[in-house]
Amino acid sequence: MSRIQKTFEALKDKNQKALNIFVTAGYPDATRSLEILKSLPSSGADLIELGIPFTDPMADGPTIQDSSLQALENGMSLQGTLDMLTEFRKDNTGTPVILMGYFNPIYKYGCDKFVNNAKTAGADGLIVVDLPPEEDEELRIPAQKAGLDFIKLVTPTTIGTRLDTVIKNASGFLYYVSIAGITGTKSANIDEVAAHIKQIKEKCDLPVAVGFGIKTPEDAAKMSKIADAVVVGSAIVENINKNQSVSNIVAPLSEQVIALKKAI
């Protein structure tokens, strides 16, 4: 059983929902980013989404855009992201880590080389924002062969037969993007999200995580009632940004993650 599957089943046995935390690799810098990453599981993150920084993050709002650019300025790269994950795995073997990013850095690195090195580094799954089903074979097939889950994004516009197309080759879990928009902007309409997730559940057995626009423990609490996992990204990155000059950056972040976990 994969780490992702094990995590969802263990939580289900305890009647709990999963907390997915997104951080940008290399933000605010390589050293502190690794410290933050290492601290997340003990604060309550059940899964981690590690963002591979990219110059042109088309689906992200200003918060994550800025974090990506700063990480790149501080020398982070795709290889650096994998190295960070290798370090993390030295003392954590239980928390699933999903690499999340845009296709170009992966394409440039080489799809086959990337999936092999990502697997070796300890990744469990991939989310590639700009790779819809029409174009995903080039990465999805080698990824699934290497044992990495290929996590699909389902959005408010994924309706009718489009939903069948999107979930067809999904594995791991489904990532439900709760708003038609970019990260860190609007908030979702909970009733619409609930209705859509119900339709998705009728067609697919995979756990459903909800992300985009979840900021506070209250948001997380509401979403956790209708999904198997909630993803918090921009609010975490924003908190890192706010505490960039604090000597112990991990403390305020742990506080935030603990509060989120408690709420769901």
Binding site: F54, M58, S77, Y107, D130, P132, E135, T158, G181
Partner: protein, 409 residues
């Protein structure tokens, strides 16, 4: 000499893209899932329009009476004599309403948007020519228009910013990234994701996800279709070579496409070489970049080994883009079109030469094409017939050029 949907034979170089939007390895639809249903809807609406005679009747009527098509094919006698080689013709798309070729694809796309029932239009712009052309057709059809423009470009293209505002458009300064055309395109895509219901994204070149490269090309092909007929009238034969500048590649695709199956016609795409393609300040994606994925398409981009996109540089804001349309990437790989580059300084010299030789002040973009003509023409025999796409006029650039020449306006 009107545009319409011409049936293309199967083994033709004009048959691309395939049904998934690929030109060989390039093109495709690399967008966030939120946009996919909408992109598929645009494709459907475009194909329906393309196969509908009434659509082309509407397009051609406006192209004639509103834009002023056909644009003349002008034999440049003085220029020909000056360089002493090839017979040089200019395709005068700078005489179009709004001063560049961009109006061709704006007109076509707004007609598609209207057929889709969309209520508002967004666009990105670099030099502001596409923004002005978009704002113009939006005024014509009374649709709200929002143009995303890099904060840097707003500074260097003030007259066009003012024009857009006069035409009733909202101009949104983009400060993310490098504050130029690529960032304006990112921002337009981000805005579109959040307004999928009522908004049409009117892309300004043969780039972006399928069907844009195909659709924009087909609207711009009016340039090549006219050139072919006009050349038959004037010379009774096909031209020997075509020259066009390349930002994203729309004016070049429009001129080249109708000639792709005529093997005797040589084609040159001229990229912006900035300070030189061996420096890190240029915008030559084909001659100085490598394959990648950005803005919904696979093509050539300026990028580093980590797949991070580099900033482009050109004296011409309209060529200052670190990518190129996917069909050009394909034509480059199969060697059908030769892609070359000229520097900022060469383009500036060409700007002055063309103004003085012919009394035509060109935009800085086609000044790049003319800089290549200046090199090429003297090496060619006198019976060689060359056509250059004079795709824009230079009014918008006089401030930039004056500053470069150390002159005050």
């Amino acid at each position: 000499m009107e545009a319409k949907n011409l049936k293309v034979p199967a083994n033709s170089l004009r048959s691309g893209p395939d049904e998934k939007g690929h030109f060989g390895l390039y093109g495709g639809r690399y967008v966030a899932e939120t946009l996919m249903p909408l992109i598929l809807e645009v494709e459907q609406a475009w194909h329906k329009a393309r196969d509908n005679e009434a659509f082309w009747d509407e397009f051609n009527a406006l192209a004639k009476d509103y834009v002023g098509r056909p644009s003349p094919l002008y034999f440049a006698k003085a220029t020909t004599a000056h360089y002493g080689g090839a017979k040089i013709y200019f395709k005068r798309d700078e005489l179009n309403h709004t001063g560049a070729h961009k109006i061709n694809h704006c007109l076509g796309q707004i007609l598609v948007a209207r057929r889709m029932g969309k209520k508002r239009i967004i666009a990105e712009t670099g030099a502001g020519q596409h923004g002005v052309a978009t704002a113009t057709v939006c005024a014509l059809f009374d649709m709200p228009c929002t143009v995303f423009m890099g904060a840097e470009d707003i500074k260097r293209q003030k007259p066009n910013v003012f024009r857009m505002k006069l035409l009733g458009a909202e101009v949104v300064p983009v400060t993310s990234g490098s504050g130029t055309l690529k960032d304006a395109m990112n921002e337009a895509l981000r805005h579109w994701v959040a307004h999928v219901e009522d908004t049409y994204y009117l892309i300004g070149t043969v780039a972006g996800p399928h069907p844009y490269p195909e659709m924009v090309r087909d609207f711009q092909s009016v340039i090549g279709i006219e050139t072919k007929e006009q050349m038959m009238e004037k010379e009774g034969r096909l031209p020997d070579s075509l020259v066009a500048c390349i930002g994203g590649g729309s004016n070049a695709m429009g001129l080249f496409h109708p000639f792709l199956d005529d093997p005797s016609v040589q084609m040159f795409g001229v990229e912006a070489g900035g300070f030189g393609v061996d420096t890190d300040k240029h915008a030559a994606s084909l001659t100085g970049g490598s394959t990648g994925i950005l803005h919904g398409m696979r093509s050539y981009f300026l990028q580093n080994d980590d797949g991070q996109i580099n900033e482009a540089h050109s004296i011409s804001a309209g060529l200052d883009y670190p990518g190129i349309g996917p069909e050009h990437a394909y034509l480059h790989d199969i060697d059908r079109v030769q892609y070359v580059s000229v520097t900022d300084d060469e383009a500036l010299e060409a700007f002055k030469m063309l103004s003085q030789l012919e009394g035509i002040i060109p935009a800085l973009e086609p000044s790049h094409a003319f800089a290549h003509v200046m090199k090429l023409a003297p090496t060619l025999p006198k019976d060689h017939v060359l056509v250059m796409n004079l795709c824009g006029r230079g009014d918008k650039d006089i401030f930039t050029v004056a500053e470069k020449l150390g002159m005050e306006i």
